[in-house]
């Protein structure tokens, strides 16, 4: 209790002090508030959730206790209100400079010009406010659709596309507000195009010679499809890598820290141009970590609550929004490598090349309290014939645990194709919390490696990286 009051004072102090320093300081203050409020609310609202039918059984525990479901909605709602209260602090310095009230519309061009000379921040950056508001709208829509999903149990093929619907405000505002749909062309592709264009032109073919100097390609409409795909991918990939206590929140927290590491690199080493994007990313992610850590406290092994699809969608969308608005969606995707691997690994079962049981969670053994890999019965449901050699190859590479009838050579069963089961295949049966920590540790290490490689390889492919330039 005393500790919490002290934390509250610290938070107020940080938020107040942020006036004289940076929004990042306020982010830490709001993050602390987010943690305290979420931590306070979760045990108090749990029973109400159970009362209205939002509950689930924890299958990996003795006695299968009933836990409240969809508690991630609490974290998400607290986060939203933090985002609202945060607005004046983000734009505080603009309010100070323009004394006549930020958005005063009667400022003439002359005045504006004078102010412009006075300081670079003299006119209120409405475009950045729109950016911020549309991000918040997108997150709020995600939460709304997530709750609808948790309530109505929407079918898999429908809910897969829900995040794209929630991303509409983001894309629409991006369209009217920013509208940059060009992407850089990698150095070797640039050489290739320019040489081909020159060659064809010299042969007398009608080729646009300006292609020779191409540095970026305008993707136009495809850029929006690309952004929508990002909005579909991030939430769903977190939703798929789930099923053991603490994993959904845990991976989101690890992803958040990885994104922060990348942002910190840019804020310390990067150019002025990129700093704005990464400051925005920090502003969104630090409070996200606050509410997520409180949820993790209640969702980690042995779980007291379940997070629900709402949280998975919300968390994924935070990263999608940060990547899209900050124009580093590709770097963001690198942090999702474990999720991508998990998805690719699941494809044979998701698309029914191999039999997919209704649940692919690890099997809980009540006698030793450990989790064992769950298996798909291939005897009764044989895989597609073309996939049999691939399955056997995977078995030889130790990428699945394959059970084969020694006499007939018939496939009897295989471990279900999720990273969670694969870990159990590789490292043997273990307790739920150990398994979760192991996966989170892998996620973290792969992410750090990805960040290092991204800046190293990025410099080579594009001839320059926005962090370092190769001369």
């Amino acid at each position: 209790m005393v500790c919490k009051i002290l934390l509250c004072f610290l938070a107020v102090g940080l938020i107040y002090y942020s006036r004289y320093s940076s929004v990042v300081v306020a982010a830490f203050g709001f993050s602390i508030f987010g943690y305290i409020v979420t931590d306070y609310l979760i045990p108090r609202v749990g029973p109400s959730f159970i009362k209205i039918g939002l509950f689930g059984k924890d299958l990996s525990k003795v006695g299968k206790p009933v836990l409240p479901e969809c508690i991630g909605a609490v974290s998400a709602t607290v986060y939203l209100f933090i985002m609202f209260f945060y607005i004046p602090f983000i734009f505080y310095r603009y309010l100070v400079t323009v004394t006549s009230g930020g958005g005063q519309r009667d400022v003439t061009v002359d005045q504006w010009q004078q102010q412009q000379q006075h300081t670079q921040y003299s006119v209120f950056p409405h475009s950045r406010l729109s950016e911020y508001l549309s991000s918040t709208l997108c997150l709020e829509s995600t939460i709304l659709l997530g709750i609808a999903d948790d309530l109505f149990d929407i079918r898999w093929r429908h809910k897969f596309f829900l995040p794209a619907v929630a991303a509409i405000p983001l894309l629409v505002v991006y369209y009217i507000d920013f509208g940059v749909t060009s992407v850089l062309v990698p150095g070797f592709v640039k050489d290739l195009i320019s040489k081909t264009a020159l060659f064809l032109h010299n042969k007398g073919l009608p080729v646009d010679i300006s292609l020779r100097d191409i540095t970026s390609i305008d993707l136009k409409g495809f850029y929006y499809i690309y952004m929508a795909s990002m909005a579909i991918f991030c939430p769903n990939s977190i939703n798929i890598l789930a099923g053991i206590n603490g994993l959904e929140v845990g991976q989101s927290i690890v992803l958040g820290f990885l994104a922060l590491i990348n942002d910190t690199l840019y804020m310390t080493l990067g150019s002025e141009l990129t700093k704005n994007s990464h400051r925005f990313s920090i502003v969104l992610i630090i409070p996200f970590l606050g509410v997520s850590l409180a949820l993790f406290k209640w969702n980690k092994w042995p779980a007291k609550v379940f997070v629900g699809d709402t949280y998975c969608y919300f968390a994924g969308m935070v990263f999608a929004v940060v990547g899209i608005q900050g124009h580093f969606a590709k770097t963001m995707l690198l942090l999702f490598i474990p999720q991508i691997i998990n998805f690719m690994y699941s494809v044979p079962q998701l698309f029914n090349m191999v039999f997919c049981p209704r649940h692919r969670l690890p099997k809980f053994n009540e006698t030793d309290g450990l989790l064992y890999p769950s298996r798909a019965n291939l005897k009764e449901n044989p895989p597609k014939s073309f996939f049999v050699p691939i399955l056997k190859l995977l078995g030889i590479c130790h990428l699945i645990d394959l059970e084969i009838d020694e006499k007939t050579g018939q496939l009897l069963s295989c471990s279900n194709m999720t990273i969670i089961n694969l870990m159990l295949v590789w490292f043997g049966p273990m307790r739920e919390d150990k398994l979760c920590n192991l996966i989170l540790a892998c996620q973290f290490m792969i992410g750090v490696a990805a960040i290092i490689l991204r800046h190293f390889i990025g410099s080579i492919i594009f001839q320059h990286d926005n962090l370092w330039t190769i001369k």
Copy 2:
């Protein structure tokens, strides 16, 4: 079916044509879409709502049928998505003029000045986009909290303040973006202040002589309290005048039409300055009418669905947002006169001066199918003694139906204090749909009278009205 397809074509035509005319035309197009989509969804999602426990019994019908509750959430969600898709159409003309993509940040002051001379709409109005986005955020938060209320049945004293919480994004953006907190001082108050100031100054008292020329008062923080009160009042007042089929949606539709009449007056007779505010109002209200009419079709007598608190909050907030953003909150309040009367009339029961039964709905008589005024038992629960003479006075004025023991003079019972019951007291028992229509007709007539009086009296009190000026 054919009719619906034709309507769809009409909607597409209107939205497309709006490029060459006004956003108001697009509003009609989106409104038609809103109607069709809501009308399509309601019967299809109803069973899912019942399945998860969102249902209620219609007490004023034979057999008390079970109907899905909270269906207003469908209208509200459709409205939200309309608001998202609407954005490019509202800002279309700005996108056309500035060819290099609306929010391009690299436009220099010189370029801006040149464009400024070229056309007055050359620079994208980001402040208006922020205004629009914060309104949408506020509405979305209202829906979210409304759904929470419908799900968890939040206590009356808590839920009364929920709309103020949802209005936070609106107020915050108003603060950093617009920040005008002054209100005009009525002519007679102005005279009074200036004369008093002059008088005291002449007496040698230390009075600021500039008070003599006061025309407006800066309410500062109080203006935000005033706006928050507006956000609390509108949703709750609609929520209180409820309980018979179609009344919640019906009154919202009538309010919408009244607001449109007022807007049309300004758009045709008003000055350029006020037109922007009222265009914004039209843009929000026409699609609102579309989704509400579809809901009314299903909620009107005999109701197939209930609207739930979500809709009441959402509808009230639409009017609050329009009033606040358009700076005509006072005019908007005039349209709510019936709701205000209903609230004032309810005060004795709400604050327990007179016994308040759990439900104050009219009583349904199964034999003749009519509604009768419900009554509060005053014999077992006598009113506060100071209130007895007031009750008797109300009884004499026919403002309640009072039952008095002729021998002892003791109060036995009175009709419950809601406008709905009062109508039944005045005009006798009637069928539910007649009662609803009667109340709606009253609302409409009072509203029209209020608009006429507002512009007539407004001209006298403030010496000028923004519609007509008295020379």
